[in-house]
């Protein structure tokens, strides 16, 4: 019945099925009596929806107008005697929108003293002062909630609802305090006793309120969702709109180019044809002309012969006979030569069938979408593959219309049949140039192939023990790095382990076999002295760990400055792996040796001493007059430090994280000095010998405990 009423009132929205309409009274009880005949007490119309509906409408003016219409409708429907009252009431409701007065929405100002007696017959009257005209709800709080609900649903400013404030008017009627589920109206408890509600189920009003609120909220959420859906749809439409434009553009372009192509082809054909005909004509004419010429010649010769013969006939008999014999020869020869009287060129031009098949084809293809161009697969990015998956990226031409892609793959075996190209030879790892630290290794190798290869693959297996070697291919692979374009790679590793490294080369014919293995221990840092940086007076040992300066008798001649090797400071640099973190190494020196040990940036000026500029830091020891002097140089400055026991083995800790460089006496676990240095780039260890002697670098040492304090 409620739904019907809704429809009657012109609610033509399709409402969700579980959108319940609750009985609700717009007016105060006393006024209701004016409007509703007694038997219609049960016919409560839910005008709430309408009110909400029109509230959601445009501005005040419109609402007011709508309201007026509604009013008229209601008047008509309920058989109002005095629609004025009704009108007033609705109007009242609107006034508060301007925030002026505090009229309760649907409450009449007039009070009818006869109210009380009618009260009991009406369920859920908003009787007391606190109750608003939403009679069915029975309490201001509920109306408040409903108001909240409206606000929530269509985001009206809260000021507009300020009007819904409870007036402090007395009202003798009492509030309903239970809810009749069957009739879906609030009633007062004692009313249950009455016939209407005797058999009905009754629940406390609060419960009813809660469930009503829930319903409202549910519905609100649905409305919200709908709003979002519609908004999304609108966006979507916009997108489609834009896409239509784009597609049109594409089609236009497509057709234009096709069309032009056809025209061009036709024009071309025309030209070709004309040209061919012209040539033919020329040929023929030339042939004919040639014939003409030879004909003319022939004619001339004949005539000449004739004349000669005639002349001969007038000669003396003896001369005549001589000439006649000669002439007879000539004539005989001449007449023997064939005269070609066949016309060489026919005047007709052959019919040539014009081949328009390609034009036809073009015409035919004008309607088809051109097949897209082949996508271009991007070269494989290193580290983009694992043992069981690979990441493929490709790009396409923006002009193409693509619906989908098809990716297919096939594994390529080492000895895949039918490949034209042989797999490459394995590379050769440059074991002496391996640099590592606790967290990574830098490997480089020689290609091992004369022809270029496509890429390299580095494979690592963990060695169970440091001496493990000769691991077969079936050993579990720890890491495989594919798609390496150059002959070097930095691979991240776990500290404190040993790894075996292989490299393969890869080309169209497949991968090569594994290279000879190389072993890496992620304990401490490994590096070698770089011969390229070495001062000419220093000799580096085969293993790259010892630097020797021999006695020199010859006077030092000026060495021309160089960017790669030291020319002033008799020094050499090591190749430390360019990885941040901690690096620790030790240098073995002689007590009486004058040396400098430290670090420097790769581009430190090689014409200067270590520690003399801001690109290098070093510890310097000089031994003179039986006294050991120690300096810690950077930018030519040093702190004043005395050390009583000269270290024989110096431990050096390079800490990128804390920007520190520390020196230790390894044998005594004694800390000597720490620089704070800004290491914006990578540095390399450097060593210099200021007098003849040698120093030895020790690698692969785990940081001792005493060093960890620094």
């Amino acid at each position: 019945m409620e739904e019907e009423s809704g429809e009657e009132l012109g609610l033509d929205r399709s409402t969700p099925k579980d959108f319940h309409f609750y009985h609700m009274d717009l007016y105060d009880s006393e006024d209701r009596l004016h409007l509703f005949p007694e038997e219609n007490t049960r016919m409560r119309k839910v005008v709430q929806a309408e009110m909400a509906n029109e509230s959601r409408g445009a501005g005040d003016g419109k609402a007011q107008r709508d309201l007026q219409e509604e009013v008229d409708e209601l008047v008509h429907l309920y058989g109002l005697e005095d629609d004025h009252e009704l009108g007033d009431e609705f109007v009242d409701e609107n006034i508060p929108r301007t925030g002026v007065s505090e009229y309760p929405p649907y409450m009449m100002k007039r009070r009818d003293p006869a109210r009380e007696q009618r009260d009991w017959r009406l369920s859920g009257e908003a009787a007391e002062a606190e109750d608003l005209g939403f009679g069915g709800w029975g309490s201001a709080g509920q109306c408040q909630d409903l108001r909240e609900a409206y606000r929530y649903t269509h985001g009206r400013a809260s000021e507009e609802y300020e009007c819904y404030v409870i007036p402090e008017e007395e009202d003798e009627e009492e509030a309903a305090d239970v809810f009749c589920v069957t009739c879906k109206t609030p009633i007062r408890a004692f009313q249950k006793v009455f016939d209407e509600h005797k058999e009905h189920e009754v629940i406390p009003l609060n419960e009813a309120l809660e469930s009503a609120k829930d319903e409202i909220h549910k519905n609100m959420y649905k409305l919200e969702k709908q709003i979002i859906e519609m908004e999304n749809f609108a966006n979507h439409l916009e997108e489609v709109f834009i896409t239509v434009e784009e597609n049109f553009g594409k089609q236009e372009q497509n057709f234009e180019s096709h069309y032009n192509e056809i025209l061009e082809t036709l024009a071309q054909k025309y030209e070709e044809k004309i040209q061919a005909l012209g040539e033919k004509k020329k040929e023929k004419l030339e042939a004919l002309y040639g014939q003409l010429v030879s004909c003319g010649e022939n004619l001339d010769t004949c005539k000449e012969l004739m004349e000669t013969i005639e002349e001969m006939c007038h000669e003396e008999k003896v001369d005549f006979i001589k000439d006649a014999v000669a002439m007879a020869d000539r004539l005989g020869k001449f007449l023997k030569t064939k005269t070609d009287v066949e016309i060489s060129a026919q005047p007709e031009f052959e019919d040539q069938t014009l081949d328009f098949s390609d034009v036809e084809q073009l015409m035919g293809s004008i309607n088809t979408i051109p097949a897209p161009s082949a996508p271009v697969i991007n070269p494989q990015v290193p580290n983009s593959a694992t043992g069981s998956s690979v990441r493929v990226c490709w790009s396409l031409y923006s002009d193409d219309t693509v619906e989908s892609y098809q990716l297919s793959y096939r594994p390529v075996q080492d000895s895949s049949p039918g490949t034209d190209q042989a797999a490459p030879s394995p590379p050769i790892i440059k074991t002496k140039e391996i640099r590592s630290c606790e967290e990574a290794v830098l490997i480089c190798w020689e290609s091992g192939n004369l022809n270029p290869v496509d890429s390299y693959t580095v494979e690592l297996t963990q060695a169970e023990s440091p001496e493990a070697s000769g691991v077969t291919d079936s050993a579990s692979l720890y890491r495989s790095v594919v798609g390496i374009p150059t002959c070097e790679s930095v691979v991240q590793l776990q500290p404190g382990r040993s790894y075996i490294i292989y490299v393969r080369a890869l080309n169209m014919g497949g991968p090569s076999v594994r290279s000879e293995p190389a072993t890496v221990h992620t304990i401490g840092s490994y590096f070698r002295l770089n011969k390229d940086t070495c001062h000419p007076w220093l000799t580096i040992s085969e293993d790259g760990l010892t630097a020797v300066r021999s006695e020199r008798r010859t006077p030092a001649r000026e060495l021309s400055p160089s960017d790669t090797h030291f020319t002033r400071c008799v020094a050499v640099m090591g190749n430390l792996i360019p990885v941040r973190g901690h690096h620790y190494w030790e240098v073995e020196v002689d007590e009486h040796l004058d040396y400098r040990v430290g670090v420097a940036f790769a581009d430190v000026r090689k014409q200067e001493d270590l520690g003399a500029n801001c690109l290098s830091w070093c510890m310097r020891h000089t031994f003179a007059s039986s006294r050991h002097k120690y300096e810690f140089l950077h930018n030519r400055t040093t702190p004043d430090i005395r050390i009583t026991v000269p270290p024989k083995k110096i431990g050096i800790l390079l800490d990128y994280e804390h920007s520190k460089l520390s020196f230790f006496n390894v044998d005594l676990s004694q800390h000597l000095y720490t620089f704070s240095c800004q290491l914006h780039e990578f540095v390399h260890p450097c060593f210099s010998l200021e007098k003849p002697g040698c120093l030895k670098v020790h690698n692969g040492i785990s940081m001792p405990k005493h060093v960890t304090f620094y």
């Binding site: 430090i641 009583t644 004694q670 800390h671 000597l672």
Partner: protein, 277 residues
């Protein structure tokens, strides 16, 4: 021996306390400060003894470092107080406040002025009995006269201290005015007795285990310039005997607590390296 707590303040998660007790060696009431790091709540910590004025506890900023490294820091007083000895308050560098960490042999000092025994015997025993410290792990350091005290305690007791360090120590008291004044007062005129309390001399006959000594000295320290401290003598002796020392002459620094505060972290780390090894 009953300990009376005088004060307790929370600092860097630990507690800085001051206690008082009756000293047997010194025959008077003595105060000392103890810093208990947070780690001391759950276990025994190594002990680090600091010799200098009581201002150390508030002025030198060692608490953070001690807290981080989990070290108990004990700071006894510089001398007995309130002994009512005639002349004890006459000068600031002798008598009250300047015990020189010797066991005096001369009257009227010998009854009370036994700081050497107090620092090396009585106090450690007291600390070991009453606080969560590991008796096997002990180190010592100090400033100026306390630096001298630290050095001689370590050199006279090989193996007792895991490490030693000093700020601007009096390295060779036998040869400097302060030392001469103090030793003649406490020990009499027999200079051979003096040498027993002189770091430079002790080093020359040091037989014992490896010691790693860290010394910081302010370059602008007036007392250095006055020849009171004489670190060069000490260094030369250590070089001779191959006792490891790192001596740092710090540009611009003087004798004050600002100097101590700047480098205290390095010293505490130095000790932690050995105490927490």
């Amino acid at each position: 021996m009953a300990l009376k707590q005088i004060s307790s303040n929370k600092c860097f998660g630990g507690l800085q306390k001051v206690f008082e007790h009756d000293s047997v060696e010194l025959n008077c009431k003595m105060k000392f400060a103890v810093y208990l790091p947070p780690k001391a709540e759950t276990g025994k910590c190594p002990a680090l003894y600091w010799l200098s004025e009581q201002n150390f506890i508030s002025k030198s900023g060692y608490h953070q470092s001690a807290s981080e490294h989990g070290l108990v820091v004990i700071a006894p007083d510089t001398s007995p107080r309130g002994c009512n000895i005639k002349g004890e308050d006459e000068s600031w560098d002798f008598g009250t406040g300047a015990g020189f960490y010797v066991d005096a042999t001369e009257d009227p000092w010998k009854t009370n002025y036994r700081m050497y025994s107090y620092v090396t015997e009585e106090l450690p025993q007291l600390i070991n009995a009453n606080f969560p410290v590991d008796p096997q792990r002990m180190s010592i350091f100090g400033h100026s006269m306390g630096g001298h005290g630290a050095l001689i305690c370590a050199l006279k007791n090989p193996g007792k201290y895991k490490s030693v360090s000093a700020f601007a120590p009096i390295c060779n008291p036998v040869l400097c005015p302060w030392g001469k004044k103090a030793f003649s007062g406490y020990l009499g005129t027999d200079q051979s007795k003096w040498k027993a309390y002189d770091a430079t001399h002790l080093v020359k006959s040091y037989p014992g285990s490896q010691l790693d000594i860290l010394i910081d000295q302010g370059k602008d320290d007036q007392f250095l310039l006055d020849g009171q401290l004489l670190p060069d003598n000490f260094i030369a002796a250590c070089t001779e005997k191959k006792i490891p020392v790192v001596f740092r002459l710090q540009e611009g620094y003087d004798h004050s607590y600002y100097f101590i505060a700047t480098f205290i972290t390095d010293h505490i780390r130095h000790h932690a390296k050995y105490l927490n090894a």
